[in-house]
Every structure is written in C-alpha cells, then in structure tokens.
C-alpha cells in the first residue's frame, strides 16, 4: 500500500514527438521532455504558441503516440490509462453535445463505462452540485453562458472521478472576470476531489495562481526550459492575487519565458533578413 502512494500521477521520460517525419513538412514538436508529476499536484504548461504544450498534453492523454520516449500515467502505460479512463479532459471550447441536456452531457463518460441509469443520474446530480449548476441539469448547452458551459465540461471531465484532469486552455475563451472566478472554482473543485491537474495556458498570472509548479517551455522544438515552483500555499483566494509571492512568481515565469522569447524573436528576425 505504501508503494501505491509513491506512484507518480504522470511520468514523462525522454519523450519526443515529430510530425510527418522524413517529409518536407516535418515538424519537431517536442524534444526529449522529462517531467514527473506527483499525485494531487497542479502543474501548468506555459510557452509561446507552437511550443508543443498541447502536444505534450495529448501525449499524456494517449491521443498521440510519442515518437520516442515513454509516458506513464498512474503507474500504467498511457494507453492502458486511457482505456481505464484514468483521466478526464477539457478543452478551450466546452465541446458539449447540443442534442444532450446538461445532465446527459455529464453522464456521457459514464455511459461509455457501462454504468446503469440510476447510478449515472445520481453521479450527474453530484457533479452539478460540485460545479454549482444544480438547477441547470435539464437545460441544453446553448441555454447556458460560456462560463457555465465550461463548468459543465469540467463536471463531465470529472464525472467518473478520475485521479487526473488534463486541461487545454479551458478558460482561454472566457472574459477576464469569468476567468478569475473559474480559476477559483477549479482550485476548490480539485481540492475537494484531490485531483491531479495538468493545465495548458497562455496566461502567466493564471499559471501562477493555479499551480504548484509552472513548466516553462521553449519555442519549437518544444523543450522544458525551466520548472518554477510557486510557493503560495495550498489555500489560495482573491487575496493571493495581491500577494508579494504572486508577483515574484509571475516575474520569475516571465523572465524564463522572455529569455526564450528574445532568442525566438532574434532568430526569426535573422531569418527574415535572409529572406530579403
């Protein structure tokens, strides 16, 4: 039993991903990525567009196969973890099914697990409670606001109580106020369910506010440049956003990103000059 506690939630060993290998369109998306995530940890992946952070998330989800390296989730291969539905997933678009009510959307992963109707319905009600949408179960997705739809997507991702939640810029399409509210809600939900989270984002404050660690990635080919630990304690509130530690961490992430960004801009500038 004590061994189980030592199993990492996610372990990425020397993972590389090359798309269209050997053709003119070859893209080296990821290069030799190593990352270990402990159970209950909240880890953000941040970096410039096209740095492969979404690719890394999809490798962990086993929606893509690595060209090289190994990935394990919950001590299993990522493929087995996917078959066992050991993780839930949420994207920038809520991706809800228009023809299903909110409750039926949340029940979808449970249907695929073969749960019976009663069990599904009671779990859906429980998830609606969790995301504070008790009164919206019988509505259709288009009747909800963007923030509410995203909460339904989170409820659906967590419906089977997976130990791991993979999120790809889930709040990217929301306005700033809704976004901050959703960040608070996500932290509350993850604390209540002790879920491990891997969170892809463009936003430095969002990464810092949410995470235990922020993984800063370089432009293509994506590598991990730096992993910055955020020491803001486990209880975070709106006050956290005004704390010294919050700004210090933001500066640290920004500097790590800017180092790479400056190089990136310089290299494209040179390339531009060559083109002329």
């Amino acid at each position: 039993m004590s061994a189980a506690a030592n199993i990492s939630a996610v372990e990425v060993n020397g993972a590389s991903k090359i798309f269209n290998s050997g053709t003119a369109n070859q893209v080296d998306a990821l290069l030799d990525v190593n990352l270990t995530i402990a159970p209950g940890e909240f880890v953000s992946l941040i970096g410039p567009s096209g740095c492969g952070k979404s690719t890394l998330l999809r490798l962990i989800a086993n929606l893509l196969e690595p060209t090289q390296g190994e990935i394990s989730v919950n001590g299993k291969t990522s493929a087995q973890a996917r078959l066992d539905q050991d993780y839930g997933m949420a994207f920038q678009q809520a991706g809800l099914f228009d023809w299903r009510t909110v409750s039926k959307n949340i029940e979808l992963p449970l249907e695929l697990k073969g749960w019976d109707k009663k069990k599904r319905e009671s779990r859906a009600a429980e998830m609606l409670d969790l995301v504070k949408l008790q009164d919206f179960g019988n509505m259709y997705p288009w009747q909800l606001s963007g923030g509410m739809q995203q909460r339904v997507a989170i409820a659906r991702a967590l419906a089977a109580h997976p130990p791991l939640l993979l999120m790809d810029e889930p709040f990217g399409a929301l306005d700033e106020m809704t976004r901050e509210y959703m960040q608070g809600e996500l932290l509350r939900i993850c604390a209540e369910t002790s879920t491990t989270v891997v969170f892809v984002t463009h936003s430095i404050p969002e990464a810092v506010y949410l995470s235990n660690r922020v993984v800063v990635m370089s432009p293509r080919p994506g590598r991990i440049l730096e992993i910055i630990s955020v020491n803001l304690g486990s209880k975070r509130s709106e006050l956290t956003r005004a704390a010294d530690g919050f700004f210090k961490s933001i500066t640290a992430v920004r500097e790590a990103l800017r180092g790479t960004h400056a190089q990136h801009v310089a290299s494209t500038a040179i390339r531009g000059a060559e083109d002329r």
Binding site: L83, F91, G95, D98, L108, L112
Partner: protein, 254 residues
C-alpha cells in the same frame, strides 16, 4: 410587440395574395381575356370544386409515386451515407459524382426509363423520384456523419470509445439535422419530379398528365384546377417535412 410582429408576418403575405388574385380576376374581366389565354381565378375555383373527386384521384397517383420514391430514396440515401462515412476511399469516389448529379436535372432520364418498362408501369416515375431524393439525402447525411466537431471526437477517444460508439453517440445525432435539411429539399423535389415525369409519356392518370391533356383540349380552367391540386400536394409534403423536423428537434437551438 412580438405578437404584433407575428400577426404582421402572417397578414402581409395574406393581403398580398388576396390582392394578387383580385388583380388577376380584374384583369381577366376588365380586358376580357379569353379563357384559352388566361382563366379567371373564379373559374379555376369552380372547376376545382366541380372536379374534386377526379383531382383527388390524380393527386393520389402522383402523390403516391412521390411518397414511394421519397421513402425508398431516403432509406437508400441514409444507408449509402453510412457506408461512405465508413470507407473514406468510396466517399472520395462517390461524393463528387453525387454532388454533380444534384446540380443537373436528372429527371429527364425518365424518358429513357419509360422505354425500359411497360407503358402502364409506375416504376419509371417512382424510380426517378427515388434517384432525385437519394442523392440529396446521401450528400447531406454523409456530410452530417463526417463533419463532426474534432473536439467531440477527441473527447470520445479519451473515453476509449469504440468507432461504433462514436458513430452512435456523435456522428448519428450530428447527422439528424442534416437529414431534415435534406428532406426539406427532397420533399418538394419528389413532388415536382413525380409531375414532370408524367410529361414524358406513360400512364395518363396523374396530375401532370391531367394538366397536359386538359391544356391539349383547351380546357384551361380545368388544367389550372389540377395545377392548384399540384400546389396543395407540394405544400402538404413540405409541411409534413417541417413538422417532422420540429418533432425531432426538441430543445435544440438550430
């Protein structure tokens, strides 16, 4: 305010329609137009009510042909779209063909078909309707089955869902509105095809052939009465397709 808008949206076309018919009637009377040139609406209505039994009979024949073709074509179209969505290479083969066939008036083929079957057969007409409906349904439903949100497919794969589960829970529900869009086009098209097919010979029992034979006999008002029957039949098909769509739409927005 809203109810006022609704009343307006109904009364405006109604007033326009009544005014148009009044103008028509007035023109025929005022300029003393001969019946073989243009029949007066009052005469057409009179003919319509004098011949309801015969018009109904002809409507049943044309409508029956349209309905049989519509049902068979829809079933075949749906079946084929499933096969196409399963086998990508077949789809690349058939879809451009289906789309181009949709754009040309293939019902003229009925003349050829008439030659292939006995003169008393309804099969050429039904076959023609089937063909027209088939391609409309095929193109639309295949689109609905394949143009699904990539996020929803990725989500299903993250649930380790089988291809069959993705078909059942994502592709088929996604294709339902596409099917009804197809039916809204195919239902009036099936009626039109059924009439026009009758212009190319064969049995003289449907609305289309009655219209031509009445015109040939200079019974213009009677021909118009059959045209009126044809309009009503087309409307009935279209209305049913819309009612069906609303029944299945439930709470959806689109």
């Amino acid at each position: 305010m809203k109810t006022l808008d609704r009343i307006k949206s109904i009364t405006t076309p109604f007033v326009f329609g009544v005014a148009f018919i009044a103008l028509w009637e007035g023109a025929v009377k005022g300029f003393d137009l001969k019946p073989y040139f243009l029949a007066a609406p009052s005469k057409i209505i009179e003919q319509f009510f004098n011949n309801t039994a015969r018009i109904w009979e002809a409507t049943a024949v044309s409508g029956g042909n349209a309905l049989v073709g519509l049902i068979v074509g829809t079933i075949l179209g749906i079946a084929m779209s499933f096969i196409l969505s399963r086998f990508r290479f077949l789809s690349q083969l058939v879809t451009p063909l289906a789309i181009s066939l949709n754009a040309i008036p293939i019902f003229v083929l009925v003349a050829v078909l008439n030659n292939m079957y006995s003169i008393t057969s309804e099969i050429p007409r039904r076959f023609m309707v089937t063909l027209v409906v088939y391609f409309v349904v095929l193109v639309n439903v295949a689109r609905g089955l394949t143009q699904v949100s990539s996020i929803q497919v990725e989500l299903m794969r993250s649930y380790a869902a089988s291809e069959f589960a993705i078909l059942r829970k994502v592709r088929v529900p996604n294709a339902v509105p596409y099917l009804f869009t197809a039916l809204k086009v195919a239902a009036p098209a099936s009626v039109i095809t059924a009439f026009v097919s009758e212009y190319f010979g064969g049995l003289q029992n449907g609305l289309g052939s009655r219209i031509t034979s009445n015109i040939a006999n200079s019974k213009n008002a009677a021909a118009w009465a059959y045209v009126l029957g044809a309009c009503l039949l087309g409307l009935a098909f279209y209305t049913v397709s819309i009612i069906l769509e609303n029944l299945t739409r439930r709470g959806q927005s689109k």
